[in-house]
């Protein structure tokens, strides 16, 4: 029994890591008031870039860095359209996803079926990885540890630092933040770029560590689960981790539960169903304020039309 639980958990954490990385970024972007439905597109561009650069340079670190950069570049398109041009964020995000799926397909064609010469190796934490049973949890690759470390760091930044207050105030009441001397546009740009960086990392995790391979459309809707998880987590890094592992766990478990008569496809719906429920639960105004749902989400900011 313990072996079963440990084996499910050790599969769950890597299965949830791409979701976690992506969600942490989207939480920050949405906290600044910008919804980015382009996560799927940024993630897949990260995946193909990470694979391509790792393939060409035989250097995983370069691949991961390039993937982050690709994510940032993609996010800048959305930032320009939604923050500078103030066009509809929903449409711009959808366009970004389409663009990412298209370009990655074309870019990755040459890599289909190619083995990666090097891949991100697991890091054996000294001493801890030798523990019986628990040792399994200390043999993940570096991106898994980074994603876990980022959770307390990003929570601290968000709630306990001045920068965090600035970020939240921009998503809450941009006009007031502007009056206090905050550069609303700059903060939103940075938050959206951080979202892009994290989505790029998530994509690289998939293509150079988790798979590791390039498969067209390999994110397979993970970007949309990130959008769902961002709401599910109520825009909070710690709950993002819980949610990411929960939904990662669902993906691991679906094949093991099938013999018990629980169809995998119905389990797959779960993240999206739960998200709709959460949306209903947080619809009450007083509750929204208490948990800090960014009040200015999806509202472009203009200094002239207040």
């Amino acid at each position: 029994m313990i072996d079963f639980i440990v084996s499910v958990l050790t599969l769950t954490i890597p299965a949830g890591t791409a979701l976690l990385l992506g969600t942490l970024g989207e939480v920050y972007a949405e906290r600044s008031g910008v919804l980015n439905l382009g996560v799927e597109g940024m993630m897949i561009m990260g995946a193909v870039t990470g694979f391509a650069v790792t393939f060409a340079t035989k250097n995983v670190v370069l691949g991961i860095l390039a993937a982050s950069l690709a994510g940032i570049l993609m996010s800048l398109i959305h930032a320009y359209f939604s923050i500078t041009l103030r066009v509809n964020q929903v449409v711009s995000g959808l366009a970004l996803t389409m663009l990412g799926l298209g370009i990655s397909g074309l870019l990755g064609k040459q890599f289909i079926g190619m083995p990666l010469p090097v891949r991100l190796q697991p890091v054996h934490v000294p001493v801890l990885s030798d523990l019986p049973i628990l040792g399994e949890f200390f043999r993940f690759n570096i991106l898994v540890y980074i994603s876990i470390l980022l959770v307390p760091l990003l929570s601290f930044f968000l709630y306990k630092t001045n920068w965090g207050i600035v970020l939240r105030s921009v998503g809450e009441n941009p006009a007031a933040a502007d009056a206090m001397g905050v550069n609303v546009f700059l903060v939103r740009y940075l938050a959206v770029m951080f979202g892009g960086l994290m989505a790029g990392l998530a994509g690289a995790f998939l293509s150079v560590a988790y798979a590791p391979a390039w498969i067209e459309g390999m994110t397979a809707g993970a970007g949309w689960i990130v959008i769902a998880l961002t709401i599910f987590s109520l825009y909070d890094p710690t709950r993002a981790m819980l949610g990411a592992y929960l939904f990662g766990g669902v993906r691991v478990l679906q094949f093991r539960l099938q013999p018990l008569g629980i169809p995998a496809n119905l389990l797959n719906m779960l993240p999206f169903l739960v998200t709709i429920l959460v949306l209903v639960l947080i619809s009450e105004q007083a509750f929204r304020r208490r948990i800090g749902v960014p009040a200015a989400l999806m509202q472009p900011y203009s200094r002239e039309e207040k």
Partner: protein, 358 residues
């Protein structure tokens, strides 16, 4: 002396400016896509030529473009209506699938009914399926003020999994040997085609009539007037005694129903069975967003934009086989065109004013 650049909102946008902006945004899209193609090692002129020939250059290509424009028109005209009320139903893809499930389910359940009865029943069921699927975000929006963008989007993925569950599970045909397909539809559950083409003309006629009806509704009826006022300024609409909730429910349910009809058309007119969701609709519900936006939300123009996007899809298939490009290539067109449409909307609604201050 300094130069001051100001951006101000335009009050009136003329029809010529609108059409000009559509054409200009398409032209600029093709320039940018050509640049992207060149970077990725694809000769853009060659690709464009293949797309043009593939989608519009032969009777066969044209007929395929028309066939693909049918679901795009049904879903796109409904979305134009919905977006006009500033109700952002982006879940047409899910509503198409529900239409396919309910309409296809009726076809599978009563295969022996006469065609003249079964096909109308399937369309009716498909309309209701799509409409009910859209009623969920509509009620959540009117009752709980939950944003329809996220709920309608989540419902797309729930609908996909529902289709997958059905065709891998209870609805899998006995003779399909493990493949995720239902049994084939009986002849009376299949739509007739125009000659040897894949144009299932009953759906096309329904689509054209409904598009015209939506145009008349939007511009010549009281309800249409309310939809436009609520879209421009909900507060003003409420002040004038209009029911914003009723408008939201109406546009979502109608656009969902139209998408549902598109789903029936695909399963009864093209596939003649139910299969995996990406087979029933390879993203028609999302492409329909472009159809609506490219038409600047004018229902009559969606006839043209649906045909254009349908042709682009067929052309995309052509470059896939002729130039050995992945099927996702066509998404580059979708993404870039969508970006340029919203940028053009910005440029036509605002203008840049340069003042010289002494």
């Amino acid at each position: 002396m300094s130069v001051k650049v100001r951006i101000e909102r335009r009050l009136e946008v003329s029809r010529t400016t609108q059409i000009g902006s559509i054409l200009l945004s398409l032209l600029l899209s093709f320039v940018v896509i050509a640049v992207i193609f060149s970077f990725l090692g694809v000769n853009p002129l060659n690709a464009y030529r293949r797309i043009l020939i593939g989608g519009f250059g032969s009777l066969y290509g044209l007929s395929e473009s028309v066939a693909k424009s049918i679901p795009l028109l049904l879903a796109g005209a409904g979305l134009a209506l919905s977006f006009k009320a500033r109700v952002y139903n982006i879940g047409a893809e899910g509503q198409i699938l529900l239409g396919a499930i309910v309409g296809g389910g009726i076809g599978l359940a009563w295969p022996d009914l006469p065609r003249g009865l079964l096909l109308p029943l399937m369309f009716l069921g498909g309309f209701l399926g799509g409409a009910l699927w859209a009623l969920i975000p509509a009620l959540l929006k009117t009752r709980f003020r939950v944003d329809e963008v996220l709920t309608s989007l989540m419902l797309v993925y729930i609908a996909s999994d529902l289709v997958r569950y059905l065709v891998y599970g209870p609805w899998r045909g006995a003779e399909q040997r493990g493949f995720p397909y239902s049994s084939p539809f009986s002849l009376s559950a299949q739509l007739p085609h125009l000659g040897t083409t894949r144009i299932h003309y009953p759906t096309l006629i329904v689509a054209l009539l409904l598009t015209l009806a939506i145009y008349i509704l939007l511009y010549y009826t009281k309800l249409g007037y309310e939809i436009r006022v609520v879209g421009e300024n909900p507060a003003a609409g409420r002040y004038a005694g209009m029911s914003v909730e009723r408008v939201i429910l109406f546009v979502l349910v109608l656009s969902g129903g139209l998408a549902g009809l598109a789903g029936v058309g695909e399963v009864a007119g093209i596939h003649a069975r139910l299969g995996p969701p990406e087979g029933i609709s390879p993203g028609y519900g999302f492409t329909a967003i472009i159809v609506a936006w490219l038409a600047r939300l004018n229902p009559l123009l969606t006839v043209l934009t649906a045909f254009f996007m349908g042709g682009l899809l067929v052309g995309g298939d052509a470059i896939q086989t002729a130039l050995n490009l992945p099927s996702a290539t066509i998404f580059i067109f979708n993404g870039v065109i969508l970006f340029f449409i919203i940028a053009a909307e910005y440029l036509t609604n605002y203008r840049v004013k340069v003042e010289v201050v002494k």
